[in-house]
Subunit: 307 residues, 2 copies
């Protein structure tokens, strides 16, 4: 580990509700080492954050200098490590100047938590995605359009002149997971594959008449039973109905806009498949890279502040 | 227990996905004894149904005569005790003539499973609720209107001339439970009370624009956090949005109809509160009594068949 310690100049950290990702960073921006740990924030008291972090990074920390740790995500929430005041929209995504420096017992590092963003009307919150936006904007400073930040709680963000103008959150990903894994529909939607045509039809149905979402969920079960349909069909219907209902409600965001989907799993691919037939230009970017780019931008800003 | 055994002439049984209810019945229709057991149908093999039942009723069974057991619910499904073919709509709710007699090792009882109902287009299923409908119709043979059978999977059934003309199932109750207990919203909706005005507004919002359901779920979390709202408000918003979206989709059922809500818990009260401002006459009936009345009607039909 000596090599990492020697080259380590800062640590990037994304501390979400259920995971902690850490990158040991070199001066030139290279990732020396990447760590990922499951971590249920729900069960963590404020004074348990530091020991959790120390436990993971202690072997890499040098003794002769203080390593800055730049952290984004739910660790800055009310029930997190320290409550960091949200930055209100419209605003550029927060960077080092609005970060909160946390007092730590261990003096080998200095921890800075980046704020999330809030929107007062309609009320909305993000904590972690703003750093993905900052990362995207670092590489695309002139971008004017819409970012779709996929996940359990997908965010649609309208970006203009380097600022998050407004955003809206949809619980589609969490709903999809709950219904696929824990509802009656788990028997008829558990599938590693899905039927593309069925998905497209379901998206279309829900977009043109969002009310049917309520009545078509049980239909997935009934159709599987009466028509002996496969789970690949069931999964496609469920995903399609939920994403279609979201697209109907998010229309003011995507209509006529350039769209970039930031995500990396099947959900991101599903959004792309759903959006493409609508005739909008759709690009994708990997979420983890955007997070790291956002944290790196904050580190650079911190360095220029302190010099 | 001798007194019960002496008077016992038949057993009524409602075997649902998660519960088994049994009533020891006297000749005059009196309930001699009521039993209720939790029972996860998901984990039960077909040959485990009989021992489960025997275990609960053995002490009551006489040795000198065969006791008919009339059973409704998921025990008649594909993964149940025995697959009983569905009765297709339009039809009177099934009774004794369409029941399936199950072979049992124990000769002290004769088990009859009532069929559920199916609808081919749009595909839909019920298994258990049809017996509540039969019970309601036994007391209200001339009823022409709509029954709203509340539960995890609420059924709206159009009834005319003693028949189930059509029906539609909504997973609202299960969605409400999943979101209240297992999603991000559990922190802001867990509440034993709720705010009536907030509920009414949420129902109204979702009814007039069902698309907002997708965007307003996360708002419950964001508003609770930014505006410091109570869980009683959160619970009212969530229930109101989900029930409002259902009412929008179920409009062809309830519009201009006489409505009877069959249920017994808070959910039934919530539907009543949501429906009353719409100007329709709404009555309620307790679900368990309707089930027992339906099973009793089937027993009477069975008796007249065999005599």
């Amino acid at each position: 580990m000596t090599q990492i310690t020697e080259k380590l100049v800062w640590i990037a950290a994304d501390w979400g509700l259920s995971h902690l990702r850490l990158w040991m960073m070199a001066e030139n921006g290279d990732v020396l080492h990447r760590l990922s740990a499951d971590c249920d924030l729900d069960g963590l008291a404020p004074d348990q954050f530091e020991p959790t972090l120390v436990n993971l990074v202690t072997e890499f920390l040098p003794k002769d200098r203080i390593i800055p740790v730049i952290l984004c995500g739910m660790a800055g929430a009310k029930q997190g490590w320290a409550e960091v005041p949200y930055t209100a929209t419209p605003s550029a995504p927060p960077s080092a100047p609005s970060a909160t420096k946390v007092k730590t017992k261990d003096k080998r590092f200095a921890v800075y938590i980046l704020p999330g963003m809030k929107q007062n009307a309609p009320a909305d919150l993000m904590q972690g995605e703003e750093t993905q936006i900052a990362g995207f904007l670092a590489a695309n400073p002139k971008f004017d359009g819409v970012l779709c930040l996929c996940g359990p709680h997908t965010k649609w963000a309208h970006i203009s002149a380097g600022e998050v103008v407004s955003f809206r959150t949809f619980m589609t990903g969490e709903l999809l997971a709950l219904l696929s894994n824990q509802s009656l529909l788990r028997h008829t939607t558990a599938s590693s594959t899905w039927d593309t045509d069925t998905f497209a039809t379901a998206v279309d149905d829900a977009m043109s008449n969002p009310a049917i979402l309520a009545s078509k969920l049980f239909s997935i079960h009934a159709e599987a039973s009466l028509l002996d349909q496969s789970n690949a069909i069931g999964q496609a219907k469920l995903s399609g109905l939920l994403i279609g209902a979201e697209l109907a409600a998010a229309r003011p965001y995507w209509l006529g806009q350039e769209i970039v989907i930031i995500g990396e799993n099947d959900l991101s691919a599903a959004y792309k498949t759903a959006l493409e037939p609508l005739g909008m230009p759709v690009q994708t970017a990997p979420a983890e890279s955007m997070t790291l780019a956002g944290l790196s931008a904050a580190y650079i800003a911190l360095e220029s502040e302190t010099q």
